[in-house]
Structure formats: structure tokens, C-alpha cells
């Protein structure tokens, strides 16, 4: 029998008690481990993860103040610091299961309960390492974000062996979610449910319904899931979304409050509560929720200037204007003078002064906002552009507002939430009709260009379509429809006339824009593969 050894593994042990860290290290070393890093809390761990790759992480769920083990896992995943093959073992003090609090895609590889029994640790590691070896190819594909191929790899695994079948099915479902193929997600989930009442299958079926905007169905599924499996906190989030989709903002708020009672340390959920509360005019709740989001998110990558803006807004509504002003002026520093924070700070300051009736100060802050917006590196984020547009409207600067709106609509002409917000801004300014026709004209222009370009390419005038798209890209560089169709034209040209470096570069740039926005996932995957194939042929 071969000696079982951990010598090739790279460990990170995270625990707030030094005796525990020492004990774990001793245990691991007794099994041959040589490369062991230690961290005493989430913040330290994340810093270490920024600069090191590990194969196995053992993390205590309870890490004192600051992030807990689940939050460390989620943030590390979110920031792309963990390989798909990483083994993450959560060490818990209870040997009863606790709540499935985090996102389903972010569950630990395994739980171990304290006190850690060395033979149990060995057996568990052995089992996890065997699984990792088995799923090696699949994990590599996931790391490279080659989701279609990863799905094929899943299917291959399942055909070869009954081991891990449902886990592979869950992974397959998650990969389909990544590809935004919601009908396929619903089908896959249903297939699983036909065999067994599995909570995650219910959850993804619900999510698919949400994404397909079938809110009644989603509501039904999530309600049932909560009843039968009360520890799936994400089911509450799903239900809240369904209620929002049905226009029941009060019900959504109630659901979020319930979820937060059980799992308060979620920045996203607190933020969701704040936004939902704002929608129903409950600024008392939104003030509390924003404070929580800020507190919990303090050292998290999920921290966002929007929470400060939201808090300032709630404070103004709750007659706490001077505190609101303080918050507005603190944003910039909280985010190390980032361009976004500076802009948010300026807009918020302008809005607070406006509510205090201080016109001159408000206009000055607005002027600063507009300047910052113009100078924003890489072009301003659209929601901030709209915030400034809204503020301009409030100050009667209609032309400035319209120009900003035009730019946003040009880049996001199909985004319903953007169009809805723009509609609101015009309505608030008493220009509802004007707004509607303005949006329509702007959209029509883009749709026409797109359609013409696509038609030309498919009817054989590839060169002509390229000319058209080149110009369109100059005018609306971030429009994902233009970018994906341009990429299509470039690829078609290269298929006909041979691969050419310049066109290939343009294709890659376009695809990068689409990838960044997360749109057109299926098309993106296909074109990415084509483009990679062409690139390979250049070097052979």
C-alpha cells in the first residue's frame, strides 16, 4: 500500500485561535504536508490569497469579528482567487448542519466538525483528493471559462460512472446558468426533480422562472422551498425577486426582513432591502439597511459608493440633513478617491444641498459632477450618468440632461431597466411625451444600423458591413449588440478571405466588450471559440 502523503499540496489554515492553527499544522505535517500558510482572520486570509495559490483551504466558520468562513469563501470566489479544483473545508463547532446561507454555487467542498479527529480528517482529505483527480479535466475547463466544453465534460463523466452523479447534474445546471440558457436550466432542474425532491433543483427551477420573468411560477417554487427547507436562505432572496417582479414591493420587503433575521451579514441582501424600501417610501428601514450594508461591507469587495448615496438620501428624508452631508463628503475617502466615489460624492452632495434649499451650493456640486463625468476614465458608468442627468433635469438644465441620456441609451438601447429609468426622469421633469419620442428616435437609429450591418454580412457584402460597423463602433463603442454583430462580420470576412491579424485584433476587442457586459453569452462562446481557432491557425 502506497504511503498516503500530503507533500504536494499547498495548504492555507484559517482560524482565529493560535492553538487551533498550530494543532492543524501539526496534524497536516504528520501526514507529510510541507507547504502550510496560516491566517488568523478573513482579511489576512484574503490578502494571502491575492498572492498565493492553494490547493486545500481549511477554514473555521467562526473567525471572531469580521468575516466568517462562508464570507471568506464567497469573496475569494467572487474575486476569482480560487481555482475550480480548490478543496475548501469549513470547520464548524456544531456537528449539526447549519444554514445554507451563501449562494448555492459557493458551498464548501466539505464540512468538518470540531474537535477534529485526525483519522476523520485523513479519510475526508483522501476522499476529496480522489474526487479532485477524477474531475481534473472538468475543473480545468471551468477555470478557463469554457462552459460549453465543461458541460460536455460533465456528460462524459456521468456516462462513465455513477459516482457524483447528482453533484455533476448540479454543476451542469450551474454551467447552463452561466450561459444564460434559462429554458435549459428549467428543463435540467425538472429532470432532476422527476427523480428526486432535491432542494437545489427547486432553487434553480425557481431562478430560471425568475430570469424568464414568470414571476407567479417563481413565487410558487420559492415559497414551497422555504416551507420544506427553511435553511436555504437564498430561497428568500428568490422569493423577494418574484414579489418584486409581481409589483408586490411590500411583500418583497417582508421576505427580505425575514431572511435578514436569519442571515444578516449579507451586503447584497441589505442593499436589496434598502432599495426595496426606498421604492415603497420606507426610508426608516432603508436608512437602517444602508447602515448595515456599509458596516458589513466595510472590508469587503462588495462595498459600493451607492450605499453611501442611498444612506444620504434616506437621511434627508428622515430629516437628518447634516448627517447626510457628512456621509456625502465622506464617500470619496472611503473609497480611496476612486473616480466613481468622487463622482458619487459630488452628485450626492448636490442632491442633499438641493433638498436643503441651498441652490447655489447644489449647482456648484452639480457642475463638479458634470466635469467629473466628462473626465471619467473609460467612460462613466451608466447609472451615474443617469444620476447626473436627473440632477440636471431638476436644475432645469434640460439640454445637458438629454445629451447625457442620449449617450446612455445609445450604449444600452435594449436594457429595460435603463429605458424605464430614463422614462421616469423625463416624467419627473414633466416631459413624458418628449422623453418617449426621444428614446424611440435614439433607439431606432441604432436598431437600423445593426439590422443593416447584419443584413449586409449575411447577404454577402461582408466588406460593406465591416465599413458600417467600424463607424458604428466609433460612435457607440460599448453597445453590445453592435460589438457582437461587428465580431460576426469580422469573423465572416476571415472565414471567406483568410485570417488577418488586424481583423483578429478588432474581433477580440469587440468580444471583450461583450464579455465585460455579460450579454449574448451563447453567441459570445461560439465566436470566442472561432476566434481562438483562427488565432491558433496563425501561429501554426
Amino acid at each position: 500500500m502506497a504511503i498516503w502523503s500530503l507533500k504536494d499540496e499547498k495548504f492555507l489554515v484559517i482560524d482565529d485561535f493560535s492553538e487551533m492553527r498550530a494543532m492543524m499544522r501539526t496534524m497536516l505535517m504528520s501526514y507529510g504536508a510541507q507547504d502550510i500558510h496560516l491566517a488568523r482572520n478573513g482579511e489576512d486570509a484574503l490578502k494571502i490569497l491575492e498572492n498565493n495559490q492553494f490547493s486545500i483551504i481549511l477554514c473555521d466558520y467562526n473567525l471572531g469579528d469580521g468575516k466568517d468562513g462562508q464570507q471568506v469563501l464567497e469573496e475569494a470566489r467572487y474575486r476569482g482567487l480560487l481555482s475550480a479544483s480548490l478543496i475548501y473545508i469549513m470547520v464548524t463547532a456544531e456537528n449539526t448542519a447549519h444554514m445554507v446561507m451563501g449562494a448555492l454555487e459557493n458551498q464548501p467542498s466539505s464540512y468538518l466538525s470540531k474537535p477534529i479527529n485526525r483519522t476523520v480528517l485523513q479519510a475526508r482529505l483522501d476522499s476529496l483528493l480522489k474526487k479532485r483527480a477524477r474531475l481534473h479535466n472538468l475543473n480545468q475547463l471551468i477555470n478557463k471559462k469554457q462552459y460549453q466544453q465543461a458541460i460536455a465534460a460533465c456528460d462524459k463523466e456521468m456516462a462513465e460512472s455513477p459516482r457524483y452523479r447528482f453533484e455533476l447534474l448540479k454543476l451542469r445546471t450551474e454551467l447552463l446558468m452561466e450561459l444564460d440558457d434559462y429554458p435549459a436550466v428549467a428543463d435540467q432542474a425538472q429532470q432532476v426533480l422527476d427523480e428526486r425532491d432535491i432542494p437545489w433543483a427547486f432553487y434553480y427551477k425557481g431562478k430560471a422562472s425568475l430570469m424568464l420573468q414568470d414571476y407567479e411560477k417563481a413565487k410558487e417554487i420559492f415559497t414551497q422551498l422555504i416551507e420544506t427547507q427553511g435553511n436555504y436562505i437564498v430561497a428568500y432572496d428568490g422569493l423577494a425577486e418574484a414579489e418584486k417582479g409581481l409589483g408586490n414591493n411590500d411583500a418583497a420587503q417582508a421576505v427580505l426582513l425575514q431572511a435578514l433575521e436569519r442571515s444578516p451579514k449579507s451586503v447584497l441582501r441589505q442593499r436589496n432591502l434598502a432599495e426595496t424600501s426606498e421604492r415603497i417610501g420606507d426610508y426608516q428601514t432603508s436608512e437602517k439597511a444602508r447602515r448595515q450594508a456599509i458596516k458589513v461591507g466595510r472590508k469587503s469587495v462588495l462595498k459600493a459608493p451607492g450605499d453611501y448615496a442611498g444612506l444620504a438620501k434616506a437621511l434627508v428624508k428622515n430629516d437628518k440633513s447634516s448627517e447626510a452631508l457628512q456621509i456625502a463628503s465622506s464617500v470619496q475617502k472611503e473609497f480611496n478617491d476612486s473616480a466613481e466615489a468622487e463622482l458619487v460624492g459630488a452628485i450626492t452632495t448636490s442632491q442633499v444641498y438641493q433638498s436643503m434649499g441651498k441652490e447655489a451650493e447644489s449647482e456648484a456640486a452639480l457642475k463638479k459632477s458634470t466635469e467629473l463625468l466628462e473626465q471619467f476614465p473609460g467612460g462613466a458608468p451608466r447609472n451615474l450618468s443617469l444620476d447626473v442627468a436627473e440632477a440636471c433635469m431638476e436644475h432645469g438644465q434640460v439640454d445637458e440632461a438629454k445629451e447625457l441620456i442620449r449617450q446612455v441609451v445609445t450604449e444600452q438601447h435594449n436594457d429595460q431597466s435603463v429605458l424605464a429609468r430614463v422614462g421616469e426622469i423625463f416624467k419627473e421633469a414633466g416631459l413624458e411625451e418628449q422623453g418617449r419620442s426621444f428614446i424611440e428616435t435614439t433607439r431606432e437609429g441604432i436598431i437600423k444600423i445593426n439590422n443593416r450591418g447584419v443584413k449586409m454580412a449575411s447577404e454577402g457584402d461582408v466588406a460593406g458591413s465591416i465599413v458600417l460597423f467600424d463607424e458604428a463602433l466609433l460612435n457607440m463603442p460599448k453597445n453590445t449588440d453592435i460589438n457582437i454583430n461587428a465580431a460576426f462580420a469580422f469573423l465572416k470576412s476571415m472565414q471567406q478571405n483568410g485570417v488577418e491579424q488586424g481583423l483578429l485584433e478588432k474581433t477580440k476587442r469587440c468580444l471583450a466588450v461583450v464579455r465585460q457586459a455579460g450579454d449574448h453569452k451563447a453567441k459570445y462562446q461560439k465566436m470566442m471559440e472561432l476566434s481562438q481557432g483562427m488565432e491558433a491557425s496563425l501561429t501554426t
Binding site: A97, V120, A123, R163, F166
Partner: protein, 228 residues
């Protein structure tokens, strides 16, 4: 003088105590393990002593674990965490935790389970149930305990089979029965079976739920838990 403090939740106090005791007992058992490892082998009275200590320690631990779990279940603080489990690996873990003690008494512990068998259940709950039953076997087994698992009738059936003198008649009658008829005042076995029944029933799939049964089979007792 009566304690008339309003809203005094004694059961919560008990639960906290149990939690504390459970941790202490775990430390005790851990320390005992160390002693056994360090002590010279083959000294019969000492071995006997250690055996008894371990057996009793594990009994206490099992009961505390079960009480705590029952408290949580009864107070709606617990939802089963049903995940896909490698059954063979789970049974191996149980074997690892119990073989040493059983070996001290000359009892062999075997696991018989297809390595490709995967099923859905709450791993920690089921492990508690099996551990507790295997530990009981310490007193009643002659020489051999076999833990096995296979699929029957769409259920996963996990058996713990000893070669002792089998279960007494009253237990065979009452096992698997409604919780109200289980007499918990007799012995810890009552609690163990009650717990096992509750855990089995917590596992449902498509309208079917789990159950336990006791039988005397092939000279010896067989505890069986079936999960849909």
C-alpha cells in the same frame, strides 16, 4: 420560594448546558485516546479499564448529541441538510470511529457497501444514528459487527448486524412505532431509537419517508434504517 421569572426558557438553558457538556466530553474522549496510544500494550486490567471508560464516554457523547439535535428539531431550529453522500465513505468514517474500541474487546467491525453507492441524506444526523447503534453493539455483540448498505425498493437501507443474542421481544414490538409509545424512562436505548426514528422520518422524497426496524436475524440483532 418559587422562581416566578416570566419568560424563563429552561429548555434553552438545558440546551446550552448540553452543548457545553458535549464539548467537554469530546475533549475527555480525545484525551483518553491519547492515553491509550501512549500506554504500554497488553496489560489486561488497564485495557479493561480503558475499554469501559471509552464505552461509557461514547454513550454519554451519543446521548448529548441526540438530545441537542432533538431540542433543535423540536424547536424548529433545524432543517435536514440533505446532500448527495458517498455511502461507503460515510460508513467507513463510522467504522474508523468505533473499530478501535470494539477491537479492545476482540470484536471485529466490517463494512460492506458498494463504493459507487451514493444516496441523499443528512450526513451528520445519519452518522449520529449509526454511531450510537454501533456503540451499543459493544455490550451485546459476541465477536462481529457488520455495517452494510444497499438499495431495496427505492430506499437506501443501512443495516447494523451483530452476532449477539438479539433484541428482546418488547423492543422488537415497539421499534419503528410512534414516538408516543416508546418508553424513554427505561434506558438510553429508548432515546437512541426515538432519535433514530425521528431522523429517519425527517428524510422524505416524493411523499415517502424513512423508517427504522429491528429484527433478530441469523443469530444476532439487526438494526435497519431505510431512507427514501
Amino acid at each position: 420560594m418559587k422562581n416566578t421569572t416570566p419568560n424563563f426558557d429552561f429548555s434553552a438553558v438545558i440546551a446550552n448546558s448540553i452543548h457545553d457538556m458535549k464539548n467537554s466530553v469530546a475533549m475527555l474522549l480525545s484525551g483518553l485516546d491519547e492515553l491509550i496510544v501512549q500506554s504500554p500494550q497488553g496489560d489486561p486490567p488497564v485495557n479493561q479499564g480503558f475499554m469501559e471508560l471509552q464505552y461509557q464516554g461514547k454513550r454519554v457523547n451519543a446521548q448529548l448529541v441526540q438530545l441537542l439535535a432533538l431540542y433543535r428539531i423540536r424547536n424548529d431550529l433545524y432543517s435536514p441538510n440533505i446532500t448527495e453522500i458517498d455511502v461507503a465513505e460515510c460508513l467507513e468514517e463510522c467504522s474508523l470511529q468505533n473499530k478501535g474500541l470494539l477491537a479492545l474487546k476482540g470484536i471485529s467491525l466490517e463494512v460492506s457497501c458498494d463504493t459507487d453507492l451514493f444516496w441523499f441524506f443528512d450526513r451528520s444526523m445519519i452518522l449520529s444514528v449509526i454511531n450510537s447503534q454501533v456503540n451499543n453493539a459493544f455490550k451485546y455483540t459476541r465477536s462481529r459487527v457488520v455495517i452494510s448498505a444497499n438499495i431495496q425498493d427505492g430506499h437506501l437501507c443501512i443495516d447494523i448486524h451483530d452476532d449477539g443474542s438479539g433484541y428482546p421481544e418488547e423492543m422488537l414490538q415497539n421499534a419503528g412505532a410512534d414516538q408516543r409509545t416508546i418508553d424513554m424512562s427505561t434506558s438510553s436505548t429508548g432515546l437512541g431509537l426515538y432519535f433514530a426514528t425521528l431522523v429517519a422520518q425527517m428524510h422524505t422524497n416524493k411523499g415517502k419517508s424513512g423508517n427504522i426496524s429491528l429484527s433478530n436475524k441469523d443469530a444476532g440483532g439487526r438494526f435497519r434504517i431505510c431512507l427514501p
